[in-house]
C-alpha cells in the first residue's frame, strides 16, 4: 500500500518508531492540552500571563533535561542563566523599546544565557559531578542577590517594561499564547532531534562512562561544554520569552527555590526521556502557580514528593508508562533489519514482556554461530600509514609497584599478537598505556613516525586504535544497535547541526551509521538482540556487542582485553573467528587472554609477561617448546602440550 509505505519512509527518514504509539500519545495529549488551556481555565489577560509564565519555565525544563538527563551535567543553577538572559533582554527593551520585539528578545536572551553558562560551567567542568551542581546552585543564589543591590537592573523592584514609554508588544492575547505554546513545542522537538542525533549519542556515551566515550574517540571536555552551552542558550532564550510575556523581571523572578522546583519536576517526570520532564514540570509548576491557598506548605509537599521519587522511583513517571506499554504489548519496536525482516520484529515482541530494567535473559545469549562468512573489515581510521605500532622501553609505576618495565612490543597490521601472563603481570596496564588511558613514565609508543604516547586518549582512538574493556562497558539503557552507532558516527563526517536539524548530509550520515552498525551486529550473529536494551543482555552477548563497537570504528588496530572470560564455547568460537577475520582484513590485533590454548591456536606472535617484564616473545610453536616459560608462568616442568 503506497500510503503506508510513504509513511514508513518518512518515519524512517526522521528516525521514528511508528509502533510505539503509547509513548507518543502522552506528549501529543500534553501538547494539545497546553494549546487549549485558555479554553478550559479562563482567558483573561492576567490568567494568560500566568500560563505564559509557566510555559517559559517549561522551556527551561527542556533545556535542563538536555544537559542533565542526557548529558549528565547537573547544572541545577540553570535558573541563574535564565536570569542573565532575562535581564539582558529586558535591558535591551528598556533602552530600545521601539526596536525590540519577541524575536530580538529571544536572541538576546539566548546570547546572555550562553555567556552565563560559560562563566559558570567552564571552571566547574574540570571537576564535574556534584561540584557542578553546587557551584551552579550558588550562582543561582548569587545572581538575584547581586541584582537586588544593583540599581542598573532596578534593584529589588526590578524593571517594569510595561511602564516604559514606547514599549508596546506587537503580539498579545490569544495570538501570543498560541505562539508561546508553539515555541515550547519547537523546543521539545529540537531536544528530541538532538537526543537522536550524533550529538545526543555523544552526550549519553559520556554520561555513561568517560572511559567508554574516550575509547570511541569522544572528546569529553568539548562534549560537556556543548551540553552546557546548548542548554544555557535555551534557558537564556526562555528568559527572553518570559520577559516579553510578563513585561517584567525582578530578582524574585528566579531563585534557588525555583531551581529546586525544576529539579523536582524533572525527577518526578523522569529525566531520561523527552516527555518526562515536561509532564513533571507541568505538574509541579502548575501546582505552584495555581494552587496558592496553601502555597506556604508547597515546600513540604514538593520536598516529600521529590524525596519519594528519588528513593523509590528514580526513573520517574515516564518509566512507568514505558513499563505499562510494554505490558500491554504495544511497544514492539520495529527493526529495520537488512537481512532478517520479520524475525527482528518477532524478537522485539519477545523482549516486550521484560520490565523496564530487565535482567539478563538466557534467550538473548548466542546459541549458534551465523552460517555466513564474516565480511572483510579493512581499516579506515589510520589506514593512511601502514606502519606497525611499536612500543619501545615502556615503563609505568603505581605507588611503589612497577607495573610495566622496559617493555618492547610490536603490533603488525594483519597479524594477531597474543599477550599472556598471570594476574598482575602488566597485561592490562600495557593495553591502557597503548590506548593512552594511562601515561608512560618512560619509553615511547609510535606508529611510523607519529608518536602516540603524547596525545590524549580520544585522539589515539581517532587515529584508529580501538579497544575493549575487561568488563564490557555499554550504555545500558540503550539498545545494542544504539551502542554501536556512535562508533560509526565517529568516522562519517558531519557537523552536529546537520545531524540535529536533519539536513541532507545529516540524514544521510545518520542512516549510514545505522546501517553500518546493523551490518556488523548481524555479521556477528546478534540480529536477535539489536533492539534489546543492553541491560537485558547476558555477559557473553555484551562482550560481543562491545567487540562490534570496536570493529565499527574500522580501526587499524584492535586491543582486546580478556574477551574470552565467561563466554560459552559458541561465543568463544565467534571471538576467535572475529580475531582471525580482523587479521585477514589487515587489522593488527592485540589479544590479552588467560585462555592460553585459544591464544596459541590463532596468534601469529605471542608475548608472555611476568611481573611487568617480557619473559618471552615468539611464535606459538616456540612458546610450546620453551621450558622456561612453562616453569615460570605455569609452574610445570614439562613443555606445554599441543592444544586440541
Amino acid at each position: 500500500m503506497n500510503g503506508s509505505n510513504a509513511l514508513n519512509d518518512l518515519t524512517d527518514r526522521l528516525g521514528l518508531d511508528s509502533r510505539a504509539w503509547l509513548r507518543w500519545a502522552v506528549p501529543v495529549v500534553l501538547i494539545v492540552f497546553l494549546y487549549i488551556v485558555p479554553q478550559l481555565g479562563g482567558n483573561g489577560s492576567f490568567r494568560m500571563g500566568e500560563y505564559e509564565e509557566v510555559l517559559s519555565f517549561l522551556v527551561i525544563a527542556v533545556a535542563l533535561n538536555i544537559a542533565m538527563g542526557y548529558g549528565g551535567q547537573y547544572i541545577l543553577g540553570i535558573t541563574a542563566v535564565f536570569a542573565v538572559g532575562a535581564y539582558g533582554a529586558i535591558l535591551a527593551a528598556k533602552y530600545h523599546p521601539h526596536g525590540i520585539g519577541l524575536v530580538a528578545m529571544c536572541i538576546i536572551g539566548g546570547a546572555g544565557g550562553a555567556v552565563g553558562g560559560l562563566i559558570i560551567g567552564l571552571p566547574a567542568l574540570r571537576v564535574g559531578g556534584f561540584y557542578l551542581a553546587l557551584v551552579s546552585l550558588f550562582a543561582a543564589l548569587a545572581i538575584p542577590t547581586v541584582a537586588q543591590q544593583w540599581g542598573f537592573v532596578g534593584a529589588d523592584t526590578g524593571i517594569p517594561l510595561y511602564a516604559v514609554n514606547g514599549f508596546a508588544p506587537e503580539i498579545s492575547g490569544e495570538e501570543l499564547y498560541f505562539i508561546v505554546v508553539s515555541l515550547v513545542l519547537l523546543a521539545t522537538l529540537f531536544s528530541w532531534a538532538l537526543v537522536h542525533s550524533r550529538v545526543g549519542h555523544r552526550f549519553v556515551a559520556l554520561h555513561t562512562s568517560q572511559q567508554l566515550a574516550t575509547s570511541i574517540g569522544i572528546r569529553s571536555y568539548r562534549t560537556q561544554l556543548s551540553a552546557i552551552l546548548i542548554s544555557s542558550t535555551m534557558a537564556g532564550l526562555a528568559g527572553g520569552l518570559y520577559v516579553y510575556t510578563q513585561q517584567f523581571f525582578a530578582p524574585g523572578s528566579s531563585s534557588v527555590q525555583f531551581a529546586v522546583l525544576l529539579l523536582a519536576g524533572m525527577t518526578i517526570g523522569g529525566m531520561g526521556t523527552i516527555t518526562g520532564p515536561l509532564i513533571g514540570s507541568v505538574i509541579i509548576l502548575g501546582i505552584n502557580q495555581f494552587f496558592t491557598s496553601f502555597q506556604q506548605y508547597n515546600g513540604i509537599v514538593f520536598g516529600v514528593l521529590l524525596l519519594g521519587f528519588a528513593v523509590f522511583l528514580p526513573d520517574g513517571l515516564m518509566a512507568r508508562v514505558t513499563v505499562l506499554s510494554a505490558r500491554l504489548g504495544i511497544n514492539a519496536p520495529r527493526t529495520r533489519s537488512l537481512t532478517s525482516g520479520p524475525a527482528g520484529a518477532a524478537a522485539g515482541v519477545a523482549a516486550v514482556a521484560a520490565p523496564s530494567v530487565p535482567e539478563p535473559t538466557p534467550a538473548t545469549a548466542m546459541t549458534e554461530k551465523p552460517a555466513a562468512r564474516l565480511p572483510a573489515w579493512p581499516p579506515i581510521l589510520g589506514a593512511s600509514d601502514s606502519s606497525p605500532l611499536v612500543v619501545k622501553g615502556a615503563k609505568r609505576t603505581f605507588g611503589g609497584v612497577t607495573a610495566v618495565d622496559d617493555m618492547d612490543l610490536t603490533l603488525t597490521r594483519g597479524q594477531i599478537h597474543g599477550l599472556i601472563g598471570s594476574n598482575g603481570s602488566g597485561k592490562t596496564t600495557l593495553l591502557n598505556l597503548i590506548s593512552r588511558f594511562y601515561s608512560l613514565d618512560a619509553g615511547q609508543i609510535r606508529i611510523g613516525s607519529t608518536r602516540l604516547d603524547n596525545q590524549p586518549a580520544h585522539a589515539v582512538a581517532r587515529s584508529g586504535i580501538a579497544r575493549t574493556f575487561q568488563s564490557p562497558k555499554l550504555m545500558l539503557r540503550e539498545t545494542a544497535l544504539e551502542n554501536v552507532i556512535p562508533a560509526v558516527e565517529l568516522r562519517v563526517r558531519c557537523t552536529g547541526a546537520e545531524s540535529i536539524l536533519r539536513l541532507p548530509r545529516g540524514v544521510r550520515t545518520n542512516r549510514q551509521a545505522h546501517d553500518e552498525a546493523l551490518e556488523i551486529l548481524e555479521a556477528l550473529g546478534l540480529h536477535h538482540v539489536i533492539d534489546q536494551k543492553a541491560t537485558a543482555l547476558p555477559h557473553g552477548t555484551r562482550r560481543l556487542v562491545e567487540m562490534a563497537r570496536a570493529i565499527a570504528l574500522r580501526p587499524s588496530f584492535v586491543l582486546l582485553d580478556e574477551p574470552a572470560a565467561g563466554l560459552s564455547p559458541v561465543e568463544l568460537e565467534m571471538v576467535a573467528e572475529v580475531c582471525q577475520n580482523l587479521a585477514r582484513s589487515g587489522v593488527g590485533v592485540l589479544l590479552i587472554e588467560h585462555n592460553v590454548p585459544m591464544v596459541l591456536s590463532i596468534a601469529d606472535t605471542v608475548t608472555c609477561l611476568h611481573q611487568g617484564k617480557r619473559l618471552f616473545q615468539g611464535t606459538p610453536a616456540e612458546l610450546r617448546a620453551d621450558t622456561n616459560v612453562a616453569s615460570v608462568f605455569l609452574g610445570v616442568d614439562e613443555p606445554l602440550e599441543a592444544s586440541s
Binding site: P360, S422, G424, S425, P538, P569, V596, P597, L634, G635
Partner: protein, 257 residues
C-alpha cells in the same frame, strides 16, 4: 590459638552451596569441607566460580539460594558477615586489598575490631603474633599501607584477617602477581598457621603451587566441583592440568540459568 578443637575436626562444612548474580548461576551446588590443621586448595579456570563461592561463604550474600554453610558446627548460612567473623571465619579477598590511607598498625588493629572489647593487651598480643609471622611488618608498623609493595600489602591483609583470631582462614589467590620469594614467605606462614590448628582454604591460580602447598584439593569448573582428592594423587593426574588450562572440556550437565 584454640586448643578445644581436635586436629581433623571439620571446621568448615559447605553443602550444596549455590550463588549467583540475578539469573546467572555462578555456583551451582558445591559441597566440601575443611578440617582443623589442614590446608585445602580450590583451583579452576577464571570464571569457574571460586571467588563467588568464597565471598558467599564469607557472608557477602548474593541472593537467597539453596545450600548451607556450617562453621565449627554452627549454621551460618544466613548470617551477616559480622556474625560470621564472630563465629571464627576470616576471608582475605583477592587483590591484596587493605586500607591504603591507614598505617600498617591501624590496618591490623581494625582486623581486631570485633574483639575491641577484650582489651588493649589482648589485641596487642595478637598483633605481636602477627609480627612474629611476618617480621617485615614490624619495621613498617607506622608507615601508610598504601606505600608498601604488593607482597607486603598482602601480608598486611592476611595479618589483618588473623587479628580476629579466626579458626578458619580463606585466602583468594594470595600470591597472584607476587615475586617468588614473597610467595615462599606467604606459603611458609600458611604452613605455620596450619600447624597451629587453623583450617585453611586457598584459591590458587597455579596448579602445581596449589598442589604442593595443600593436603587436599578441589577442582571447580563452571560452578561445580568436578574433581577432588589428595593433592599428592592429583599431582599425577593429567586431567587436572588440562581442565585448569582449558584444553579439556569436562562433560558436565547443562549450566542452569
Amino acid at each position: 590459638m584454640s586448643t578445644a578443637i581436635g586436629a581433623g575436626d571439620p571446621l568448615l562444612v559447605v553443602s550444596d552451596l549455590h550463588a549467583g548474580y540475578g539469573s546467572l548461576q555462578a555456583v551451582a551446588g558445591i559441597s566440601f569441607e575443611v578440617r582443623a590443621a589442614e590446608t585445602v586448595a580450590l583451583i579452576g579456570r577464571n570464571g569457574a566460580g571460586k571467588t563467588t563461592s568464597l565471598l558467599s561463604i564469607a557472608g557477602l550474600r548474593y541472593g537467597k539460594f539453596p545450600g548451607s554453610v556450617k562453621l565449627t558446627g554452627v549454621d551460618v548460612t544466613r548470617a551477616t558477615s559480622r556474625q560470621i567473623v564472630d563465629a571464627g571465619l576470616a576471608h582475605v579477598p583477592e587483590g591484596h586489598r587493605i586500607f591504603a590511607s591507614l598505617s600498617v598498625e591501624e590496618n591490623l588493629r581494625l582486623g581486631a575490631y570485633t574483639r575491641r572489647r577484650s582489651g588493649r593487651k589482648a589485641v596487642a598480643s595478637t598483633m605481636e603474633r602477627v609480627f612474629d609471622l611476618f617480621p617485615i611488618l614490624r619495621t613498617y608498623a607506622t608507615r601508610n599501607a598504601g606505600f608498601l609493595s604488593g607482597g607486603e600489602q598482602q601480608m598486611v591483609a592476611i595479618g589483618q584477617a588473623l587479628m580476629a583470631e579466626p579458626k578458619v582462614l580463606m585466602l583468594d589467590e594470595p600470591t597472584s602477581g607476587l615475586a617468588p620469594i614473597v610467595i615462599r614467605t606467604i606459603y611458609d606462614a600458611v604452613a605455620q598457621l596450619r600447624d597451629q590448628g587453623l583450617a585453611i582454604l586457598i584459591v590458587e591460580q597455579s596448579v602445581p603451587r596449589a598442589l604442593a602447598n595443600s593436603s587436599r584439593c578441589y577442582v571447580m569448573e563452571r560452578g561445580r566441583i568436578v574433581i577432588s582428592g589428595e593433592s599428592t594423587t592429583l599431582a599425577q593426574d593429567e586431567h587436572v592440568f588440562a581442565i585448569v588450562r582449558g584444553t579439556e572440556e569436562v562433560p558436565s550437565p547443562a549450566r542452569t540459568s
